[in-house]
Symmetry: C2
Amino acid sequence: MDKKLLKQAIELAKANVEDGGGPFGAIIVKEGVIISSAANKVTQKNDPTAHAEVLAIRQAAEKLGTWNLEGCELYTSCEPCPMCMGAVYWAHLDKVYYASGHEDARKAGFDDSEIYSEMKKDVKDRKLSMHQEMRAEGNEAFAKWMEKVDREEY
Amino acid sequence: MDKKLLKQAIELAKANVEDGGGPFGAIIVKEGVIISSAANKVTQKNDPTAHAEVLAIRQAAEKLGTWNLEGCELYTSCEPCPMCMGAVYWAHLDKVYYASGHEDARKAGFDDSEIYSEMKKDVKDRKLSMHQEMRAEGNEAFAKWMEKVDREEY
């Protein structure tokens, strides 16, 4: 844990508010070296997935030439939302250091807490309408995957 | 619910296995018109966030010129993982139609179920190491956000 790096992520968040973006910043570090840094660009880029953590992960993967970020750590100004936590797991990051919590984000008008709450519910109990159909046909894609001898697992 | 569209998402998933990618495909539709379609590109693009749903959402937002995809529906070959579900909420999609479930993905070697299980736990009980520090400093970014009169909320 390097407090200077967490401070730097927070400064990215603050500077981004001045630039017209959301108050979030993130940095990815490997063996003490900064690999990537980003601020939230949802409104500036018209990209609902452009959270600071997602952007920092994408940039780090591009820089290191691999989708597997084992050995890397995330410093972020706020506890990652469910989308960003999912990205952290898929990227196999080692650790997450964060400053504000998702309840702090809620007080500032962000939906993180509500999304966390939705994700804990069964699909049928969510506010978002979700409908499953054609499961057998869908599973044909997985069968094809399992049959492929040289598949690259991730 | 248009079965042809779900079938098309499944065909994208199958074709992507042939192309060396993961077995997932997604389509975004607005008022019956296809806005975007994508297959999983994690390994081909070295991007851990390049799930079919995330790519389809990003492309739809770019095409429509807005991060807000209200009025759009997602057709996807498999139940979205937590990262993609987060993206669905942030994009404000109206509905999700899916074929395979996350337990089917698990059987094919994908971590969706484990990530769902981790997300339901308190931060301190997760396998992934997460550490909170400097909360007050982090909240300065939110204070700056709340003070900004012309902030663009999302």
